[in-house]
């Protein structure tokens, strides 16, 4: 992850996207969470030598992003930033796995390259579906959906608190980093001594802040639970959304659509 400024840009931008209005934004958050999880499960259940079978599944993130008015370039940029670990593990496949898997007449492609392609495809599909979910739903709605789906209250409260204070503490940390950068020349002053006292200072201030927050919460009648406003209800269109998409995913998983399409096209040509 990059600098603190880019962190804010990222979270703020996703938040702005989630406050838009579209048919996807209006779907009940629980339905969206379930559909996304089922989608990811179907994607990762594909055989590692079958990248072509994954191709039609791209329709889900694509549809969500177009209907939800989410810019592709933004999601793609985020995918690139998140990709290094996956790529570095996947890169070993072409090197280690050299058994031929695809025969293209003139040359053949090794199994390693095929499984590399399928890992990359899986990464693009799962990560873009996850980002599309948060961009069309918003974090508060996801938290309330999670708590209504049975996730313990302590955890969802923690998620909401963390999300709220990332901005506050992040700004504070950004100011400290700027101050340190202005006072240090070359690599002097960027070492661990200054760093740990910086984090220590931030920690002490944070604990004081926690005490003030707690008092403020008690003044406002905090009883250990956070109440979400106007919980949405699941209506017929939501059920159809879930049933339609998961039916499609199941069909695409059970029947190899690209193989059929390729064979038909080959016959036509």
């Amino acid at each position: 992850m990059g600098s603190i400024e880019s962190l804010f840009f990222d979270i703020g931008h996703l938040d702005a996207l989630s406050s838009k209005d579209s048919p996807i934004h209006r779907v009940d958050p629980r339905i969206k969470v379930l559909t996304t999880i089922y989608f990811i499960a179907v994607v990762i259940s594909f055989n590692k030598y079958d990248p072509a079978g994954l191709a039609p599944l791209v329709v889900y993130p694509l549809a969500i992003m177009t209907i939800g008015n989410i810019p592709f370039s933004y999601i793609m940029k985020k995918l690139l930033i998140a990709s290094p670990f996956v790529l570095s593990v996947a890169l070993f496949n072409p090197i280690l796995d050299r058994s031929p898997a695809l025969d293209l007449g003139l040359f053949s492609v090794s199994g390693g390259f095929v499984s590399f392609a399928s890992i990359v495809a899986k990464f693009v599909l799962t990560a873009s579906a996850g980002l599309a979910l948060i961009a069309c739903t918003g974090f508060d709605s996801i938290c309330s959906a999670l708590s209504r789906m049975g996730v313990p209250g302590a955890f969802t409260i923690q998620l909401l608190f963390l999300y709220r204070y990332i901005f506050v503490l992040g700004e504070e940390a950004a100011r400290m980093v700027r101050a340190r950068a202005l006072r240090s020349f070359g690599n002097k002053g960027l070492g661990m001594g200054v760093y740990s006292s910086m984090i220590g200072q931030l920690l002490l201030r944070t604990m004081d802040r926690a005490q003030r927050i707690h008092l403020a919460m008690l003044c406002r009648g905090f009883d250990g639970e956070i109440h979400h406003v106007a919980p949405s209800k699941i209506c017929l269109s939501d059920v159809l959304f879930l049933a339609g998409w998961s039916g499609l995913f199941t069909l695409l998983r059970l029947y190899n659509f690209p193989a059929w399409l390729g064979a038909e096209l080959g016959r036509l040509i």
Binding site: A55, V58, L62, I95, S128, Q158, I166, A173
Partner: protein, 352 residues
């Protein structure tokens, strides 16, 4: 270094997600027992602190690289294991949702690797034993160092185990271990130094804070037993459930074996005692599939070699390869067309 969805199989993701869900419920219940709602805002802001601290780098002398705080051990020292586990889980959830850093199904793996090991293994078994609440600097350093290193080594080993049992990467177990463990040894040493120096700074400037933290985290001894027992039960249950699921929908590898003639031999031997035993094993094993995986892969490879272009899958023949590629490309184009169609439809509606 977060596990991604693309590197795990649904079975591994599901089991780890179930285990993490169990731990989360357990920690939340334990936290409720303490009935101290001072901790709720404290957990939130400390989580945000770790998040912010991960963005601040420092230079590591003599290497030219830079490091930052991981935070799990610091959280465990300040909050106690249960609250620290929940806080770590929330940090990882936000990273997965907002940064695609670790996937949604892989979240279970990530929380287990980076939350369970430091909070429930390294902190109570190593840090607490060595540090023993003494304000001595050297002691804190030794404790933080040992706990951070061991916590991170276990986490890295977890990553290797999860990747290996998912059978997606071609990396062999040994090479992957040799790659991951040394890297995380270095990270663990840095983490240990940072944790110790932050804790040292706090004890020096405001000694009351850590005392408050230990009071907040409960005076009771943390017992690891219930956690382990619930884990084993959950793993057994989900393993059984998933294997039942798995046998109904065989994955590609099993399917390929089912289609190759090797399986006919296998099937014919599955009568009498052998069948009975395998049935018993299927019922009792936590990972019924993985017991056979290695032999299956070997047989699969053998079958491919000897049978060549018969019906082993993926069958290596030009015709199916090309039609597969063509079909894949065409379905991508189709999906793109659907997206494009939605876009033009929307534009027309807004123009009206």
């Amino acid at each position: 270094m977060h596990m991604a969805d693309a590197l795990i199989s649904p079975a591994v993701g599901g089991v780890m997600l179930a285990a993490t869900a169990g731990l989360t419920v357990y920690s939340a219940r334990k936290l409720k027992e303490e009935i101290d709602d001072r901790k709720i805002p404290l957990m939130g802001v400390l989580g945000a602190l770790v998040f912010a601290a991960q963005m601040i780098n420092f230079t590591i002398p003599g290497t030219g690289s830079s490091g930052h705080l991981g935070g799990a051990m610091l959280l465990a020292i300040l909050l106690g294991p249960y609250a620290a586990f929940l806080t770590m889980a929330s940090i990882l959830t936000i990273q997965a949702l907002f940064f695609a850093d670790g996937g949604l199904l892989a979240l279970g793996c990530n929380i287990f690797n980076m939350g369970f090991f430091p909070c429930f293994v390294a902190f109570p078994l190593i840090y607490k034993r060595i540090a023993a609440n003494s304000p001595e600097r050297k002691r804190i350093l030794a404790a933080a160092m040992a706990a951070s290193i061991i916590g991170l080594q276990l986490g890295a080993f977890g990553v290797v185990m999860e990747t290996f049992s998912s059978d997606i990467s071609a990396l062999s177990f040994k090479i992957f271990v040799l790659l991951m463990l040394p890297i995380h040894l270095a990270i663990g040493i840095v983490e240990g130094f940072v944790t110790a120096s932050v804790v040292g700074f706090v004890t020096k400037t405001r000694p009351g804070v850590l005392k408050m933290a230990t009071e907040l985290s409960g005076s009771k001894q943390i017992s690891i037993k219930p956690v382990l027992i619930t884990l084993v039960i959950i793993a057994a249950l989900t393993g059984g459930f998933l294997s039942w699921f798995g046998s109904a929908n065989p994955d590609g590898l099993e399917w390929s074996i089912a289609r190759s003639s090797v399986n006919k031999v296998l099937e014919s031997s599955e009568s009498g005692i052998h069948a009975l035993l395998s049935r018993v094993q299927k019922k009792t094993a936590v990972f019924p599939d993985y017991n056979f995986r290695k032999d299956k892969t070997e047989e699969y490879a053998k079958g491919e070699r000897t049978q060549g272009k018969q019906d082993a899958w993926p069958s290596v023949s030009a015709g199916t390869s090309i039609s597969g590629l063509l079909g894949g490309a065409m379905s991508l184009v189709l999906a793109g067309l659907i997206g494009f169609g939605i876009k033009t439809f929307q534009r027309r509606r807004t123009n009206k």
